[in-house]
């Protein structure tokens, strides 16, 4: 019976195969000389460049650049606009295994038109970024395209792509149909692609690969068909698997299995890894927030805490073994992935220096942990409307109120499934000591639609209710309490946040404005109206002594700099 049970579950080892195409014939590492990015550079915080998704491994999205600052920000002006054209064009390099006419369903879920959600990497004067099925290189001084690569897809939800990773001269990005594709960053030509998951099981992949040493960190997403999540480290030369960490225990008796009723539930338990993590090079720990358990919006059939879903986990970078975990939403039933960036903060707590980690989680709570061992330090609500928990337990974990789990006749829950915060990047400014997050005070009705004792998929329907709006918040990292907040009068968008040593905070509202705030008090210092809402996390870099601020809005990148 046990064997039979194993037989028809999603194939968990399918990804452990070699690349379809061979690596370059020569055995040179990283692509020879004049490397675009020596991975060792990533061990030091970046200054002039933007070499990894969050700018550096800490996830702070704080830049030490200060040429653009509070005194001169009003002189900031447009340097260039680059409008990206997805799909095959005249000079496009085409790859992928799909048909010429792509499946309709996945594109229906692309939210209308190209949205640049990636944070471009900027190295040696060139920006590298991706969108679902597309990757580009663009001159960071002029906004002119150098190359464009297009991947013919076989399907998958085309909701977004967070960007690329670079190791030496090799560039990596993930596709909605679950391939890891490696390009030569100098030319855009494909080196190889490897399949990491089965798109037919509704996995779809959006993270920007993070490069750590010779590990390419690869995660995936997919909430639709009750599949297990995983995180992989892959070889940058070949794409071969180095290790794979499943976000749930694999069998009864394994650590964590006591938090599931049976093997079937844990093997179909979700816990996706759809955001890039952060990394402490001294501790050699990779930190990642995991997604919600499945079925998504009911707890029937998966009674228990459901480890390691909705958790912040620390993995040994060389082995993929879990070193510690902290579950921020035990037994989640509202789609509140805990995938928000776990920001690494070195500071003091109760008067003592500590290595910490902070997350403003989708469930509406801010968490502060000791990142050496996962010790809980702080839990604090960061939206006032939240109504789903019965407080927190001795470990600071929220206690879900069972009355707020989906019912046939509906329950009113705040926040809605989009959450109090979501993937748009938060930021931590070490100079103000404030943690910045875009927050949403929303409500939804959750209706249970699948009354089977073994529900599947989402198992519930959500209908949006009203809300109290969207607020940019500055939280005291030591307490999680809101020090200042700015409510967007026309509603918020899904913009990430950048802070700089120029005492500036950059983000966007839901009315197509790109805005600079004073990070100390929330005062607006500058803004520009764009042709779309800010869709990514703004970034900054310096070339030839000139600082640029680059932001993605709709299908375009906008670069700003000081008027000369």
């Amino acid at each position: 019976m046990k064997k039979l049970l194993l037989l028809l579950v999603p194939v968990m080892v399918s990804a452990q195969v070699g690349p379809k195409a061979a690596a370059l014939s020569s055995a040179v590492t990283t692509g020879g000389e004049n490397l675009i990015l020596d991975p060792a550079q990533l061990l030091k915080p970046a200054t002039d460049s933007w070499p990894t998704y969050n700018g550096d491994y800490s996830g702070k999205r704080f830049s030490s650049l200060q040429q653009i600052n509070q005194l001169n920000v009003k002189q900031m002006t447009l340097a260039w606009i680059y409008r990206a054209q997805a799909g095959p064009g005249f000079n496009t390099i085409v790859g992928g295994t799909g048909p010429d006419a792509p499946p309709v369903a996945g594109r229906e879920n692309s939210f209308g038109g190209l949205q640049i959600k990636a944070t471009p990497l900027m190295l040696n004067g060139i920006l590298y970024f991706a969108s679902p099925d597309n990757a580009w290189a663009v001159d960071a001084r002029s906004g002119k395209e150098l190359w464009h690569y297009f991947w013919r897809t076989t399907g998958g939800i085309h909701i977004g792509n967070r960007g690329v990773g670079i190791y030496g001269n090799w560039l990596f990005f993930e596709t909605p149909d679950d391939y890891l594709v490696s390009l030569d960053a100098r030319t855009g030509k494909e080196r190889w692609h490897v399949q990491i998951a089965d798109v037919k099981q509704e996995y779809f992949s959006t993270p920007a690969p993070v490069i750590i040493g010779n590990h390419v960190m690869v995660g995936t997403g997919g909430d639709t068909l009750d599949v297990p999540g995983f995180l992989e480290a892959r070889d940058p030369e070949t794409g071969n698997l180095q290790w794979k960490w499943w976000t749930e225990p694999l069998k009864k008796g394994d650590p964590g299995s006591e938090t599931w009723p049976n093997e079937a539930s844990m093997r179909h338990g979700g816990g996706m890894t759809w955001m890039p993590g952060t990394y402490d090079p001294t501790l050699k720990l990779y930190y990642i927030g995991t997604g919600n358990p499945q079925p998504v919006e009911t707890g029937h059939g998966r009674e228990g805490d459901n480890l390691w879903t909705c958790s912040i986990v620390a993995l040994n970078i060389d082995t993929g073994r879990i070193v510690w975990y902290y579950q921020v939403s035990p037994h989640d039933t509202h789609d509140w992935d805990a995938t928000q960036t776990p920001i690494l903060i070195d500071g003091t707590f109760n008067g003592k220096p500590r290595k910490m980690l902070a997350q403003a989680s989708r469930n509406g709570y801010y968490f502060l942990l000791d990142r050496t061992n996962g010790e809980h330090l702080v839990t604090e609500k960061f939206i006032e409307t939240m109504n789903w928990s019965n407080g927190v337990n001795a470990k600071g974990q929220p206690i879900p109120n069972p009355a707020k789990e989906s019912t046939i006749d509906g329950v009113l829950v705040s926040p809605n499934s989009t959450g109090a915060s979501n993937w748009p990047a938060p930021s931590f400014d070490p100079e103000t000591g404030l943690f910045y997050v875009d927050s949403n005070e929303t409500f939804s009705e959750f209706y249970l639609t699948d009354t089977d004792p073994q529900p599947e998929g989402y198992a519930a329907a959500e209908r949006n209710a009203g809300g109290m709006g969207n607020t940019l918040r500055a939280l005291d990292y030591r307490s999680g309490r809101t020090v200042w907040k700015h409510k967007y009068p026309g509603g918020g968008g899904s913009a990430g946040i950048l802070t700089t040593a120029g005492h500036l905070l950059f983000t966007g509202d839901g009315s197509q404005n790109f805005i600079a705030f004073d990070p100390a008090n929330g005062k607006i210092l500058w803004h520009a109206g764009l042709a779309g809402n800010v869709a990514n996390g703004p970034e900054t870099y310096s070339l030839d002594g000139q600082q640029y601020i680059v932001v993605g809005a709709g299908d375009s990148l906008y670069a700003f700099t000081l008027a000369q």
Partner: protein, 273 residues
């Protein structure tokens, strides 16, 4: 520190704007899934279900979600990856002796129906945009009426013999309950009903009023009584802008409602035919 700011803008439908990994569109094609699922006709699915129950249900459960001795087939990679029976048929006809599954003697035609039934099960789970909300009228209409005229303060603005006359016939219960917690559709200024009134006091003391078209930190735009579109630059608190939203009370109630209040109200409004 946690001063609850008054909500000056109501219809913050941010969840539709926040294109996160969370809320695919609620309609077919796609239905919230990433793959194109085949549509089988209802008769085929029904035949397949009968054949499945008769031949497979004993082990795999009547709805194919697993039984005493057989696994859940809706979540099965074999079923999900199967195309027109290419993976399922050999297993059914050949059995999997080592895993304890016998050969099953069903005709090609019956098996094709069973395959359709299984694929429909996968599609129905995957396409959440097609999930059907069930019977939500569980509340107590009497209690709902008392809430309407009492604690809910609904009667302050509404009348069951006036604007809400026949409301139970106009909307189905799910829509009715939806209108209680989300009284408007669309974004500010583009709502089909209940426009937001805006008053802009210019520095010279000149006052302009109208219907709000849009507002952000930098501009406010309105249509005035003459039907003219007008917009004004905003610099912090200048000019003074006051919004009046006729459905603000609904939003103010959100943190106060109990779920029973909402269910009772729905049960009451359903009776207003």
């Amino acid at each position: 520190m946690f001063r609850q700011h008054r909500v000056i803008m109501t219809a913050m439908l941010l969840s539709t704007a926040l294109a996160a990994q969370d809320q695919p569109k609620m309609r077919r094609p796609g239905g919230g899934a990433g793959m194109d699922y085949r549509d089988y006709d209802a008769a085929t699915i029904e035949r397949g279900k009968s054949a499945f129950v008769a031949n497979c249900g004993f082990c795999h459960g009547a709805n194919a979600r697993g039984g005493e001795s057989g696994p859940d087939l809706v979540r099965s990679a074999v079923v999900i990856d199967d195309e027109n029976g290419n993976l399922i048929m050999p297993i059914v006809h050949g059995g999997r002796q080592t895993q304890g599954m016998p050969k099953v003697d069903v005709s090609e035609k019956q098996l094709a129906d069973i395959v359709a039934f299984l694929h429909e099960g996968v599609r129905a789970a995957a396409e959440r945009g097609t999930y059907k909300v069930l019977n939500i009228v569980t509340g107590n209409a009497k209690a709902g009426e008392a809430y309407f005229i009492g604690a809910g303060k609904c009667a302050t603005c509404h009348s069951v013999t006036g604007d809400l006359k026949g409301i139970g016939a106009k909307y189905d219960p799910v829509a009715l309950q939806g209108r209680i917690v989300m009284p408007v559709g669309g974004r500010p200024g583009r709502r089909n009903s209940s426009p937001i009134e805006v008053t802009v006091t210019l520095s010279a003391g000149k006052v302009v009023t109208g219907t709000l078209e849009r507002i952000d930190d930098f501009t406010v735009a309105l249509t005035d009584a003459a039907g003219e579109f007008r917009s004004f630059a905003r610099h912090g608190e200048t000019p003074k802008v006051v919004l009046k939203d006729p459905v603000q009370a609904h939003f103010d109630m959100l943190p106060k409602y109990t779920d029973a209040d909402i269910h009772n109200l729905t049960a009451y409004l359903v009776t207003l035919k």
